[in-house]
């Protein structure tokens, strides 16, 4: 079992009052072969939720079980090693870069988790290759490359730790369309080839439709939907989730209404195009 939430609540301590960020959330996430999108409004508790997944935040009520390790931990129990198993990429991760060279920065994670210098170097090079950082850039300063490349270096910094589960907090935020596509292709490849579980916060419903297999919808700190994406978009109460329809589905709905084209869900542009061609030929 990968990550298990059992009736988890978390409250931020304020002045006199506590602010409930998330409440009574339960779900299971397998350690392999899952691609989960977490969606919801700003302030719905998404970031708080994912920070529980690598023990950065500890539940104020309920239990989180990460790879059989029960949280909140007992006194003096070591939990740092969990952060190697569940790699968390923060929003705008390029701000976390600090080393002199790109390769050294990517090596920082593995070295913290007791890899030897040589091992860390190997892991860093593999990770850099995965995200498409050219070998000629290894010895350059991470502050002298473009924003998109910085983002990749930061992602490589987490990948180099070789986590079993990869958690991403709005990985494509602030990237141009090409950069977004490239980055998503990297995650898709990790999901398909290495069978790792990927959990991703996003606001972009097109990305959800195209990549995710399972969707969790948060609203005001509670989990209002958890299930396959196909069912989400057909959900009778979809309107209440305050979510946008993905563009391909919007097009199909529009065509159904305007020219009576039979509605059949397609989640990305190639398959939509394929479908339209088929209908056209009939």
């Amino acid at each position: 079992m990968g990550i298990q939430f059992q009736d988890v609540s978390y409250a931020y301590k304020g002045f006199k009052v506590n602010y409930d960020a998330i409440g009574h959330i339960s779900f299971d996430i397998k350690a392999q072969d899952e691609f989960i999108a977490i969606v919801g409004h700003t302030g719905s508790g998404k970031s708080t939720l994912v920070q529980h997944m690598n023990a950065l935040l500890l539940p104020t009520k309920g239990r989180v079980v990460i790879f059989d390790h029960v949280l909140p931990p007992k006194k003096n129990e070591k939990i740092n090693y969990l952060r190697q198993k569940v790699g968390l990429v923060f929003q705008f991760p390029e701000y976390q870069l600090f080393e002199e060279t790109i390769l050294k920065d990517i090596m920082f994670g593995p070295k913290n988790f007791k890899s030897s210098e040589h091992e860390a170097m190997e892991k860093a090079k593999r990770a850099a290759q995965k995200v498409g950082i050219d070998e000629s850039l290894y010895e350059q300063s991470p502050f002298r490359i473009s924003g998109g490349q910085m983002r990749r270096v930061a992602v490589a910094g987490i990948l180099a730790m070789e986590p079993d589960i990869l958690v991403l907090d709005e990985p494509t935020r602030g990237l141009d369309p090409q950069g977004r596509k490239d980055l998503m292709a990297i995650f898709q490849e990790i999901y398909e080839k290495e069978h790792k579980t990927i959990i991703m916060i996003t606001h972009d419903m097109d990305l959800v439709a195209q990549y995710a297999k399972r969707v969790m919808v948060l609203d005001n700190g509670t989990l209002v939907y958890d299930g396959p994406k196909e069912r989400l978009f057909e959900h009778p109460r979809f309107e209440e989730f305050h979510l946008d329809m993905p563009t391909p589905l919007k097009i199909l709905k529009h065509l159904e209404k305007e020219i009576g084209l039979p509605y059949k869900p397609h989640y990305d542009y190639p398959s939509l195009l394929q479908y339209l061609k088929e209908v056209h030929h009939e």
């Binding site: 976390q96 600090f98 913290n112």
Partner: protein, 325 residues
């Protein structure tokens, strides 16, 4: 990280809250000067004004609606210093009549008891709520066991408490308490923006000797404004690096150095970026360094402001007169 509060303003609507910030700041400075020029002596001419200020401060506190507990909490950081000076004064000033005399013994038994007490204090302090009282109690006990357990004696010393020593110790205690209450009353009842404005207008005379007062005031207010923002950014970076295995609790000292660097450099980079963005945003909205600026809030001196400044000046005048005479 979240419990760091810069500016401890407590919202309220008392007359102390409504007082003009310039007047409040000026009154604080005047009263501070007053408190410090009262000579440390056991004569009535010193004790009466000091006691009067103390009582005045208590009345002020209750009239401002700030809970007394909050004000007393301001003493917390210096409770060690207070206790230390109190005992030094108590034991090393000799004069007047001898009140009591203690024979203290540093013996095997008492040293052992002291060690046990210190260990017990460090272990138990997290369970005790009123920590100041607890600290004082333990300090008292440390001396008490030296008096109580003279067995297997190594070294004896005598502590004589004279009435003058006791008075001076109490006097200094009250003086420091007064200073803390005054300053915390100001910060509790004044917003940082108002305080900043007060500093700016009180520094205005320096303009005549070409000190860029308004630039300094702007720097001050921007600094105050950006402390919470930068703390938030620091927290984010800490979490991001924690996700990469940085853990101050579970790592060795050698690793800690590079881990601190991994925190400092990103925060530094972000600060520069923020400063650049802010500079651009201010220039876009027409800010020119040194140019004349107008204010949205104009402060007007009211009757209570004038009355308070008169009272404060009278107090200061009275203290100076007794000092001179």
């Amino acid at each position: 990280m979240n419990n760091i509060t810069i500016g401890q303003y407590i919202p309220g609507d008392s007359w102390l809250h409504r007082l003009d910030p310039r007047i409040k700041l000026f009154a604080l400075v005047a009263l501070l000067v007053g408190t410090f020029i009262i000579p440390i002596s056991t004569e009535l001419s010193a004790i009466i004004p000091m006691g009067a200020i103390f009582i005045g401060m208590l009345i002020l506190t209750s009239s401002s609606g700030i809970p007394l507990k909050k004000v007393i909490n301001g003493l917390r950081p210096i409770v060690f210093l207070l206790t230390f000076t109190f005992f030094i004064q108590l034991f090393f000033i000799s004069g007047g009549t001898l009140l009591v005399s203690f024979d203290f013994h540093l013996s095997v038994t008492s040293i052992l008891a002291i060690i046990l007490l210190i260990i017990f204090y460090n272990w138990s302090k997290k369970y005790v709520k009123t920590r100041i009282l607890y600290f004082l109690l333990i300090t008292f006990l440390v001396f008490f066991v030296q008096y109580l357990l003279p067995y297997v004696n190594l070294y004896s010393y005598q502590l004589d408490v004279y009435d003058e020593g006791l008075m001076r110790a109490g006097f200094i205690f009250v003086r420091i308490t007064n200073v803390i209450i005054m300053t915390s009353l100001l910060t509790f009842t004044t917003m940082t923006t108002d305080l900043n404005y007060a500093i700016e207008s009180l520094l205005k005379p320096l303009k005549w000797i070409k000190v860029p007062v308004d630039v300094i005031a702007m720097m001050l207010s921007l600094t105050l404004r950006y402390i919470p923002t930068l703390l938030g950014e620091t927290e984010k970076i800490m979490k991001a690096q924690a996700s990469r295995g940085v853990d101050f609790k579970e790592s060795k000292f050698k690793d800690k150095v590079i881990q601190i660097i991994s925190l400092l450099i990103p925060v530094f980079v972000i600060s520069f970026k923020r400063a650049e963005d802010l500079g651009n945003a201010m220039e876009v909205r027409g800010y020119v360094i040194g140019a004349k600026r107008t204010k949205i809030d104009e402060y007007k001196i009211g009757l209570s402001d004038i009355l308070s400044i008169i009272v404060v000046l009278l107090i200061l005048g009275a203290i100076i007169t007794t000092r001179v005479i």
